[in-house]
Subunit: 340 residues, 2 copies
DNA sequence: CTGTTAGCGCTTTCAA
DNA sequence: TTGAAAGCGCTAACAG
């Protein structure tokens, strides 16, 4: 509780600096002295003060993570990855949960400051032009996870390509009437989430490539969440000519679609194929076919990246792409009968 | 980036202390001086260094939270509550995710130290005798959330009573063959989780009170999780004389039971009533009857408590009990036919 | 009301 | 190899 480096120095009859040196494993200490100091340290049950150390070093040994909606399984999984690697390097993880646009602003503005943290991780939120500027000005290492911006380093997947992948999978199965359920523009714009939008781009592109006209009634957007998706899916499935397959921008939304089929007595995959995105635990559990992205790894990799930047690496503002893959389970199958 | 309090003092031609005073809203500054300083601060775009401030104050402005298994919905909800109130008070939340007994040890040992944080919150883990001692010795404010120990302040519900409540509800519905699915002792002992155990105690007690003999085959325990619960439930439901109702120690486990009924073609609630615990989002969603406990509030309240202790309140080592209530939804009903 | 000064506990030159 | 000394930027106690 109370011993300071000075107490140790005195008790070991060495200079203050020497104690500091053994603390920091400096090679400039004789074996004998080192041992003596070590003994005294143990005896006094001394532990160097982290605050004092940080102050002297001008560092915080802390990485701040700004994340929207803790409650989303994908966010948590990434946080787990971050926490695990940070802990392995003696860094603290301080978290900021964003649930309103106001808080997004204030966190983006206040958190990235050298006296608060040594680096910052931002999950799923793409900073806007001026925000990027502000971030850059701080000089602090910033890395984006699940978002990308040309001026900042990031870890992400290629959402457009992943959207194409999912769509192509459905197409290859023989589906031609394919629906998409994702986040509404108004909603994503508030926070500047980009993944749902990108996946939708991929969806559209793949459809066009296959000479299929996107039908507006097959594309519905709402606030992220199971409930909202369920409502949207219900509407879509009650169309005179409903889709035979639905691509949901996230597993959570796919679960909503699944609920809708249950509400309507539609058999999956016999009458409707569903593909989700993320591969959260529940997906495996419910037999949902989905596009798997490395969630935990994205966090771990992002943390490694900030750590290396903190250690002095030059910030290469490139987005590192992680691989995705389709995990086929029980929610997809060829359509009941052929159609044009 | 660079301006220090000294720069401000110089530019405003005042003493160092005066700047500090306006920074800390001390009333001992004339309005005129204050304004001048404020102007210079704005002009220089100065922000006081948090690290230096912390060092001078001997505080960290940080609360550490030790939580097992981020991925559990209940843990996340509590964390949300903690984050929200901490943020509202300018405190940082640094989190530690426990997924192994080793990490439990090391966190419990290393995290609660004055140079790391000003207070600590521990979720769902009850420290053991010697651990409590060690905690007490640090002199740091420690509050338990969803756990209780006589020497430490805590926020919790009365799990035994809640277990009785759930059981009584089933009993009142007319059920007599009631099963229980909870965490195995080996599992909870590793981390020293206590809630499942306590709920089981309540279950047993209420059964006895009603003169019903607990049947060993109606009580199954396994590692926490949907999958494990599903397996256990399946076994239980395939008994020659299966229970007509099951009380699961958590909603997550109740979901597993629900899956089991689906596997077996058992109708809920016609053939089997299910009651869960926690009232996580999915419960409402799936129409699961459950015992609701204030998750978010427990975090918020716990955070308020540490904050008050940090502010100097005397640590009253009492467990504050939060209320629980049964939320009746579609997974419970009277048994199909009367039985003794 | 306000300026000055003495640390907080550690790291890091700089000499020896 | 080692000791001594100079801060890191801020707060708080002490004179004015």
């Amino acid at each position: 509780m109370g011993a300071t480096i000075r107490d140790v120095a005195r008790a070991a009859s060495v200079g203050l600096g020497t104690v500091s040196r053994v603390l920091n494993n400096s090679p400039l200490v004789s074996q004998a002295t080192r041992q003596r100091v070590l003994d005294v340290i143990a005896e006094l049950n001394y532990t160097p003060s982290r605050i004092a150390r940080n102050f002297a070093l001008g560092k915080t040994l802390t990485v701040a993570t700004i994340a929207p909606f803790f409650t989303r399984p994908s966010v948590i999984e990434r946080l787990r990855g971050i926490e695990a690697t940070l802990a392995g390097h003696g860094y603290n993880l301080v978290v900021f949960n964003i649930e309103t646009p106001e808080r997004r602003e204030s966190c983006l503005h206040d958190v990235p400051r050298a006296d608060r943290c040594d680096g910052v991780l931002i999950i799923s939120l793409a900073p806007r032009g001026d925000e990027v500027e502000a971030l850059l000005v701080t000089g602090l290492p910033v890395v984006l996870i699940d978002a990308s911006v040309s001026e900042l380093p990031g870890i992400s997947i290629d959402d457009v390509a992943a959207g194409e992948l999912a769509t192509r999978y459905l197409l290859d199965l023989g589906h031609r009437r394919i629906g998409f359920i994702g986040d509404s523009h108004e909603y994503t714009a508030t926070f500047n989430f980009t993944s749902s939008w990108d996946r939708h781009q991929g969806f559209r592109h793949m459809l066009r490539t296959t000479a299929i006209h996107p039908r507006p009634e097959y594309e519905r957007f709402g606030v992220y969440g199971r409930f909202e998706a369920r409502v949207l899916a219900r509407e879509m499935l009650q169309l005179p000519e409903p889709p035979t397959a639905i691509f949901a921008a996230s597993d959570t939304q796919a679960l909503g679609v699944l609920e809708a089929t249950r509400d309507l007595g539609i058999e999956v995959p016999a009458m409707l194929s569903i593909i989700g995105f993320d591969d959260i635990d529940a997906a495996e559990y419910l037999g949902l076919t989905t596009v798997r992205q490395p969630l935990f790894e994205s966090g771990a990799r992002g943390a490694e990246l900030v750590l290396s930047l903190i250690a002095g690496a030059t910030p290469e503002p490139a987005t590192e792409r992680l691989p995705v893959e389709i995990v086929v389970r029980r929610s997809t199958a060829p359509p009941a009968k052929a159609q044009s």
